[in-house]
Symmetry: D2
Subunit: 354 residues, 4 copies
């Protein structure tokens, strides 16, 4: 049996742990040959790939990123971009030429959408969900998410000492353009006083009043703000930037807007400062939790391959590894429900949520 | 409403996060008064306690240990020790004298057994499970466990560099006298080549053969061994020490025994070294995961108090916070089932399990 | 003997370790009374202060920030701002009223300038240098600097995994408005391919050519850029912003300018991304090195007080704690000499320096 | 020019950073060829070596251990052991056969002694000091030392939370068989209440009295004890073990002895616990400080090679990289002088030193 494996979309801590687990499980258990396809789906088109052996992957569990490389925009069905050419035939040729019996595809929503199209063309595909933002459908927790929440939590801890020393309001802007999972989890873990998410608009007057009061009582206030958070009634800050720019992070998004707004409301007596965590959230070695989860996903994906269950994606539900149909996942986003237990927890602690 | 809270048994990362969440939830949501009882059940006997206010606990989420102190052996029903006096009347007096309406008790198996006895005497008690070892019944994951597994995983990462440089077999001895959860989770996350647990005996000849082969292929081998692991057919190492000593860790347990055994089998060509992680596994700041879990447990316990549901312990099942009867938990140990998914994952990766 | 102690200017990891060491040394060795003055020189004006006892400070060594609080702009000689009122009389009243025999002042260039003026008015003052940027005169290494360089080095390590996975050029913008010490030390430790400092202008064409080549050879390139770095021949980016804004960090400084410039030169084939570390560099617990250095400074300052050597500032030269005149330090900046050994080291490794 | 490089003795964080710096400096600056000799001096005998290229070493700065491997006991002049055969001729053959113009040797006292013998035989040798213990002569600070002190400091921080929660006396046993540098630096950084070193004997009665008092005042006590510390008047614990065992760490050394002694003196009211850090102190990624220092040493060694200054070892004096004669270093140990500034600092803080 010959299996191809690729990683698509943005990188994420734990990708190498999945590659390692898929490879070890297939090689050790059933003597398969595994080929790593480089730079996401691009490798299916330009033919860049390399053999993966047990000895080469065994030490990978702690390594950040992906040894295979990845590519954000390489869609064989639209190469490049939305109006691009359909090059999927080239990809099928590649699979045929290398006698690849099945493809394990690790990626996010975009990658699963492509994988599903390949599945419909008859390619035996198994998906592994990759989303730092934790917003893939039918999958309750993904590797990389705990690592990102840990970066947020650590940053809040660091900033608390400077906030306290100067009596400041400090804002941390996290990832989460559409869903607020990282801001919520990282904010809870880091002891944030307020958590702002795309799912729940905030009124700046209320936020400013809360921040002023908390700063008086506690000497400082920590705000944890998802990239996609937005003021209610006001304009959709991020949306406008998405139209104008490929990378809103670089233009200064909600964090800087909020800093200016809060300063205007709080006056010169309270200093407000903002920190963007940006790429720090996706780099580096995965946490122990993410290493184990990525390893479980990898072994589960190898199991699907060995049992011939294709067109499926591995997922975590409760604490169980299950599998779901690729078609059920593609093109959707899992938002934080406004009655989610974590939000109830945050409310019980007196955290401002908008 | 006046609520007492205490922490019993060995300390654990996340205890302060529970104390914080219980207090904030009770004070902010229903204006309760919260009193911290010091040094576990001992405080019920000697009357040492102090008021807990929102402002005092809000900054506690990252702090290791317990600000209330704890005590390993203070059982009011047997004070001190198995043949001790029943001083539970004194404890009841304390609760009456301070008009304490309910007691939140954070602790492990021993603590829950005591809590259950108080519940039978009519004390309104709510339990919060505390077990780094993750071996309390009906609770699938406890705070402190992720922190301990992270210490194990980090230690394996550190030791790998020295193992590789010297071509050694290196052993890490973890906590887990009765159940192997920490060795299993930490070993998976740290890329251990072998994981030995109390639940699965090992044959030294097989282990030595495996270690020799792995060291040849990979240049080194990493073994992750729970404190309570045991050789098959051989004597029960730990059990004998338990009889002789109050603290087997200090005498050199399975790790040192295994080092000597492996050296005997491997000969002078392969060096074997052992590291005991000991108390490092229970000290320090909790991981982001544990902070959130402890916070959820704390809020859930406050909810039980507010709804008057006593004699219950908060628990995690799947990813849901539920509650179970104290009587169902007390006096039992949750072992790693030999068909557990994590063990299947380990086997799929070619990890030696005995 | 009654000693006052205050922290001025921006916060910095290690301030609490100094406060602890000064207090322990004065209390334990000569039975002095120590009073902590709050929020920098502001406490001398509004009278906010509190007694510091050995038991209260002993646990402070690992705590970030300053328990006394600090203030960036509270100059008793110009209250507030450059054209402000001279309130130094109030400060002298405070010292007299509390019978304070000597003042230990921990701070940077601005704080030392104020301390020196007080010294000229006859106040027995001892200074302890505080500068994350490591740019105080006559002091070769200050606490906080190693902590900041560690944050930079860790960030470079994290970003390397994502840079490598995506084949990107990644920029890290560090502190260092006038001197490049942090970028240089952190960049060396983090394996940066290029280090840009205020002391050495760069030509964008050369930098772009270097980045392209390094990205081709290595698959990615990491650039470490001090806040105050500037293009040669071009305008002085930061200077202009200093005129316009109280906080250039928040407007997007050199990092974003460089990102745009490099993208223009490198074309669409190479992605460029930027991360601002900002306040992460000054928050959090000090490194072991900084804890020891801050402790040495604190004990040395206590020694100056006990020996009656006032108007002096503690300093590190070589690895020796010495003391220098406050007047020699005030109003100056220690730049990186272009023939400094660290720069020679960077050149020997093929690091691009401009 | 063809340069050989090898690492001897125990591994240490920063070895790879030296290998990287030597290689980059020699390859980039003067187009030299560099060959890595494997497993210390053993590679000179069995001929195992490999070419080192710039691209292969550039990413090594953060990696723990040594990619070349090392060997504790491979002395070509006594192969193996004190009464072994002189195989130095074989080593000279190897150097001649590969046309190696100079040898860079990274190691400790034993390695420098061997290097010095080769120098006397006419081999152009340059030494780089490697000693976690920081006890090589004429070199004030070595890479790996800051990393080890950081492990000790972090461990003390972790153990403090559990010590405080249980009201315990906790002992951390560090490396330092002959010199107490690690215990001193790590103990200062970690806020230890007592620091015991080989250079300064302690009386158990005084230590017990101090620990009892500190535990009463502070609620706990932290003791940082070098492996080679010893009781005054009592037997030389470690020395006896050195006679009996190749590895005293594994038998339970001073830490366990001290635990038992303190328990005997303190009675059942105060619990005493001990943690051995062992190999954790030498594994893992070097700190930022050690990465820079190792890099400086590597570049300085390359400079000696290029200038033809052989028979010399790089060293740090003050903060300057200098070089000293191999003969001045070999066979000696740098102890902590009892009037050393760090000891004076410790005394000023009220730390018990014996």
């Amino acid at each position: 049996m010959h299996i191809g494996i690729l990683t698509g979309g943005g990188d994420c801590p734990g990708l190498n742990a999945v590659i390692r687990a898929v490879t070890l499980a297939l090689v050790e258990r059933c003597g398969a040959t595994v080929t790593g396809i480089e730079r996401g789906f691009l490798g299916l088109l330009d033919g860049r790939c390399r053999p993966l052996e047990a000895s080469a992957v065994r030490g990978l569990i702690a390594e950040g990123g992906t040894i295979l490389g990845t590519h954000n925009r390489a869609d064989p069905f639209h190469f490049f971009g939305a109006g691009g050419t359909d090059c999927s035939g080239q990809a099928l040729d590649f699979l045929g030429r290398h006698n690849i019996d099945a493809l394990v595809v690790i990626g996010g929503d975009g990658t699963m959408t492509i994988a599903e199209r390949f599945a419909r063309l008859g390619v035996p595909v198994v998906g592994v969900p990759k989303t730092i933002d934790n917003d893939l459908m039918l999958n309750e927790r993904s590797f990389g998410f705990d690592s990102a929440a840990t970066v947020v939590s650590d940053a809040l801890g660091r900033l608390q000492t400077t906030a306290r020393s100067h009596g400041r309001v400090m804002i941390v802007e996290t990832m989460g353009r559409y869903a607020g999972w990282i801001a919520l989890e990282g904010g809870l873990a880091g002891g944030a006083d307020a958590i702002l998410m795309p799912e729940q608009g905030y009124q700046i007057e209320q936020l400013a009043a809360f921040a002023r009061q908390r700063a008086q009582e506690q000497g400082f206030a920590l705000l944890c703000v998802a990239e996609g958070a937005k003021a209610v009634g006001g304009e959709w800050v991020i949306q406008r930037q998405l139209d104008d720019s490929p990378d809103p992070l670089r233009l200064g998004g909600i964090g800087h807007r909020l800093t200016a707004d809060l300063e205007a409301h709080l006056g010169s007596q309270v200093e407000v400062r903002c920190t963007l965590l940006g790429h720090l959230q996706r780099g580096g070695s995965p946490t122990a939790f993410d290493r184990v989860l990525a390893t479980r996903f990898g072994v589960a994906a190898a199991g699907l391959v060995m049992r011939g269950q294709f067109g499926r994606m591995v997922a975590l539900q409760g604490d169980r590894c299950v599998d779901v149909g690729l078609a059920e996942v593609a093109g959707q986003t899992r938002f934080v429900p406004l009655d989610h237990e974590r939000l109830q927890v945050a409310r019980a602690l007196g955290i401002f949520l908008g």
